[in-house]
Symmetry: C2
């Protein structure tokens, strides 16, 4: 992938996304000793950066493929992203969701125009249901993170951040399936001035940290983290990018995530997901590394259940 | 007051305030039938629009008066605004607070550099304590809303909003002591294109609504509202401006405020005070009036206690 592809991707998706604001806080700067720039993708359409990759992946399809539609299996932000991106582009979207997914999530997908197909709550059942749609409808399967068009789309958040603040020393993003961190790393490499990219990951699901150490894609045996967007593992398309362009991954505890999340709500006045707090917690944890540096932080999304906050 | 005074005020305070972002939401537009533009003063320094008026009022003081300092009595956002504004300008700030004010509020004032003077929790004791500081220190008393320099400062939020979106049909702001709505009305009059200003007020403290009807400043006998920033009454400096330039005041119930607040948190992904939700609730209540109109809404502040949410 090269710089021109990322530029073309950004131009392509611009009419369908927000160039989200960047917030700063004198108080959080004083607390961390760094100069922080929060790229607020919680304000993105449908509430998360995933809109970017979803739009780009669908726009790269042929007219015929678009007519037949797209399918994914997800109960998280990618389900909503594909639904809204597809709606924006006049493309049918089929979303396979486990029968036990919260009703509010199914309603959100339907609200954005996605067709919900329910299945048993196992990975096998999900994949089978998605494959059935592919076979029957000729729909294209979209992977939420291990897809080069999705990775390019996610990278445009960091591109916008560097357009606003070109001389960032670091950009930090949470690491889940690897799409966001890989796209961020590409943008920092192409558009930054010696801008290093660091990932934030919960200790409880530190598969990416271990993958960088072992040199192969590791998995998580348990996923006991509040950062529900980060439970997934890396893929063969994003892992090489991460190996090449990500400086390191900083791991944080569940308590650190919750405390960081509360600070973001109280001080930045934003509603954001625990996953976002992982990136900010990483800065708080490694203060010495970031002291007096300009640090961009990707606030990945804001789709939380207000009735179930950890504080 | 004229247009040039407002322009000069804005230029004067610019180095000390944020030009806060304006957020939009397709979903909230669809729900209301209007096109909404949320001016997010919850992202203002110290978390509320009051920073604007505080900075302007202090900057208008003579060098000698600045040396002697400023004093106010408040347990709300104006206490923090005066503290931070004074700190930014190197001026001593004395904040009279009732002894039963929440510790977190006293700490916030101290954190911004204000000197807290405790008094008995009565209006009489507050005023006496403030007068003592004026007498002893020669400090200047700042009123949170009934002061022309404060009103001009608060008006700069609407000025920025109209600079970004010049053709708004309406701007709506909550009505408490009257400083914000008066400043907003002046800005809309000077900088809008036939832009009407409407106030939002809780039924429980509808003194401004009644004042516009009776033609004199009315008070509230009880103040049982969740919108704790709106319990105060109008003053002789802002009331004539409100009479002349505010189109009408829309009243909303406590349930409507809470529901609107939840929608703002869930859909705009912002942490904002119940007072802000009053303005948005007014739009939801009078849908016909705002249908297909471009409506600016002043999100006044974001200083809430996360441990004590109404949902």
């Amino acid at each position: 992938m090269d710089k021109e592809q990322l530029i073309a991707c950004h131009e392509r998706i611009k009419p369908f996304i927000h160039n989200t604001p960047v917030l700063t806080s004198q108080l959080l700067d004083e607390m961390t000793g760094a100069q922080l720039f929060f790229k607020c993708e919680n304000f993105q359409k449908m509430g998360a950066f995933k809109m970017r990759g979803g739009v780009n992946a669908i726009m790269q399809l042929s007219d015929e493929a678009r007519r037949k539609g797209v399918v994914t299996h997800s109960s998280g932000n990618f389900a909503q992203a594909v639904s809204l991106a597809a709606k924006s582009l006049g493309v049918p979207a089929y979303i396979v969701m486990p029968s036990n997914a919260p009703r509010v999530k199914k309603e959100a997908v339907k609200g954005y125009g996605g067709k919900v197909i329910e299945c048993e709550p196992t990975l096998e059942a999900r994949e089978k249901a998605a494959k059935k749609i592919v076979d029957e409808k000729g729909a294209t399967f979209l992977h939420p993170s291990n897809d080069l068009d999705v990775i390019l789309g996610q990278g445009t958040a960091c591109k916008e951040l560097l357009e606003a603040y070109p001389d960032l020393d670091y950009v930090i993003a949470p690491v889940g399936g690897g799409g966001l961190i890989a796209g961020t790393a590409l943008s920092a490499f192409f558009f930054g001035k010696d801008c290093k990219v660091i990932g934030g990951e919960p200790f409880e699901v530190d598969d990416a940290y271990r993958s960088l150490q072992s040199g192969k894609i590791e998995t998580n045996i348990t996923t006991n983290t509040i950062a529900d967007g980060l439970k997934t593992q890396l893929g063969d398309k994003n892992f090489p990018i991460i190996q090449k362009h990500v400086e390191q991954i900083i791991r944080v505890t569940e308590d650190e995530i919750i405390a960081a999340m509360r600070l973001l709500w109280e001080r930045l006045k934003i509603v954001c997901e625990p996953s976002c707090a992982v990136a900010f917690a990483a800065v708080q944890k490694e203060k010495e590394l970031f002291r007096n540096k300009k640090v961009g932080i990707i606030i990945s999304g804001g789709n939380v259940d207000l009735g179930n906050l950890p504080f």
